[in-house]
Amino acid sequence: MQTIPPDTEKEIYRLMVRTRLLEERLSNLYRQGKLSGGLYRSLGQEGCAVASAMALGEGDLLSPLIRNLGSVLARGVPPRDIFAQYLARVTSPSHGKEGVLHFSRPELGIYAPTTMLGTMIPVLAGMVLGDRMRGLKTVGMTYIGDGGSSTGAFHEGINFAAVQKLPVVLVLEHNGWAYSTPGEKQCLAKRMADKAPGYGIPGITVDGNDVAEVYGAVREAVDLARAGGGPTLVECRTYRMKGHAEHDAQAYVDRSELETWREKDPILRLERSFDARGTFPRADRERVVLEEEALLDAELSVVQAAPPPSADSAFRGVFLDEGIGERMRHETFTGGLP
């Protein structure tokens, strides 16, 4: 496994902090009734998202799931984009047409999935297939949950990537839950990485809350992919510390399990590791936190000042040819009368 460069480790720390603080702001906004739609937290899983994304190279592609806020931040998406998505502002990357992390930023290599779990896997495979045809050495990374791995699209997608030896890294976030459904009702495999041999690809299980482990394993998978070795399934064991979404009080979760995992918090663990190694003093870390707070406050206020999208735009952008949409808009307001 590849080791994590010291600067990268600090950057991971900063990005985990950013992720957590950003979500805390979103959570406050949610409770104030200011968000449009639901909020899906990644509390306790930030390490897996951030460290995996940091293992990608320039020009690589990443498609997040709803909980991979840390991944898109790590790839350079500014917090304002996230606020604007959740607040459904016209300045959001999707111009208010979509919510959550469902937006594309092609210049950052970020591509929106759809809600339907698993479907991004064949789509991502196609992206790097296309890039390979164009002579690019792009690696693509996406995520799947212990729940989403039960979908047919997961199976078809990873198998296609395998037979085509496509440069795909599939990070399986095994966080114990799919909404309220526990792992053992989702899949009986001992490890989710046991699925890999069935596709003839490498599979590895790592501690998803240990950023060094995640980074190392994913980096190796990225290198293998880029070298033409095909996809790798990287199972990250982690834990969803909140309910499925903010409305879910996770009544079905054993409180002691939460306690156990709170101790394994990825930020806490990295801090302890820094302390143990004496590499990134507490004072410096506190400065990071303050900087991040300031950044987020600034970004949020910019976004809050932005207007919602205008009704008219609802009818635009289905096809490149806007004429089709024009007719549509007209008909909507006339019931089709000429």
Partner: protein, 328 residues
């Protein structure tokens, strides 16, 4: 039908139907994502697990094809499965199983597939493109499948009981916007609302608004306004899309001579076409004006509130069309 009952929310009526039918018929069971412990994303199946246990209230993996497929298999073997889609949008992932396996099995093999697929449809809650669709147009087009679309709590219970007892596959589209917004009297006892029978929600002489689901309430609102303008609109709630109650539809248009179809599904190739075509074939002589369609536009369901509001047909769009039609 018993005289007892209570005003219930739409979601409560569905839940009551599930409880009562599982009580009455041990062949009935429920499967889907988070339907057990959690009681369903919208709490529709709340309480079922406690009452009926894990064998009859099955939390499945995130596998819509397995959910619909397993329901098909169980139905073929004599059970009465009810498959929940967490959001009806996800039924797209089992499109083949529902339209090609379930719907065609009786014709192909002589064995009916008495299953119900149900789940929350419709927009209005800022769910965005994949938690808001009204896909009735797709499924109406699948030979062998029945499609029901309750607009009231009374119908929600009665149609669900009818759907479960039907010998053929039924898609039951419950409108998520109505879950906790519509409340009406629901008899506590056993009754069914027959599949294939529309309800005239408001009688009128001047024009007919044909609709279903959440749009029934928009239509009634609009009809009230129109009344004050001297336009007397009849509102037909189809309740079932397949098979279509042509009798009620034709009788209404024979009376009013003018018709508008109002639906939340998108326009092109949508259910409004079927209804308009039926009228253009069979009510041509009665018609004194074009058949209008007031529908969602041919776009995904947008996320931001102002966009979603523009997307959804509302009282204003219905009024605008109705006025033009009335003065035609």
């Amino acid at each position: 039908m018993s005289g007892d009952g209570a005003d219930l929310f739409y979601v409560e009526a569905i839940r009551q139907a599930l409880h009562q039918e599982m009580e009455r018929d041990e062949r009935v069971f429920v499967l889907g994502e988070d339907v057990g412990t959690y009681g369903g994303a919208f709490k529709v199946t709340d309480g079922l697990l406690a009452r009926f246990g894990e064998r009859r209230v099955i939390d499945t993996p995130v596998s819509e094809e397995a959910i619909v497929g397993a329901a098909i298999g169980a139905a073929i073997r004599g059970m009465r499965p009810i498959a929940e889609m967490q959001f009806i949008d996800f039924l797209a992932r089992a499109f083949d199983l529902l339209t090609n396996f379930a719907a065609k099995n009786r014709y192909r093999t002589g064995i009916g597939v008495p299953l119900v697929v149900r789940g929350p449809a419709g927009a209005g809650v800022h769910g965005g493109p994949f938690h808001s669709q009204s896909p009735e147009g797709y499924y109406m087009h699948a030979p062998g499948l029945k499609v029901v679309v309750p607009a009231t709590a009374y119908d929600a219970k009665g149609l669900l009981l009818a759907a479960i007892r039907d010998e053929d596959p039924v898609l039951y589209l419950e409108h998520k916007f109505l879950y906790r917004r519509v409340k009406d009297f629901v008899p506590s006892g056993d009754y069914t609302v027959p599949i294939g029978k529309a309800a005239v929600r408001r009688e009128g002489q001047d024009l007919t608004i044909v609709t279903w689901g959440a749009m029934v309430h928009i239509a009634l609102e609009a009809a009230g306004t129109l009344q004050r303008e001297g336009i007397d609109a009849e509102v037909v709630d189809l309740r079932t899309l397949v098979p279509l109650d042509e009798e009620t539809l034709l009788a209404s248009v024979a009376k009013t001579s003018k018709c508008m179809v109002l639906h939340e599904d998108t326009r092109t190739g949508g259910p409004g076409g079927e209804i308009a075509a039926t009228l253009a074939e069979k009510a041509f002589e009665y018609l004194d004006g074009p058949i209008l369609r007031v529908t969602a536009p041919d776009t995904p369901v947008p996320f931001a509130a102002p966009l979603e509001a523009a997307y959804l047909p509302n009282e204003a769009t219905v009024l605008a069309a109705a006025r033009r039609l009335a003065s035609y």
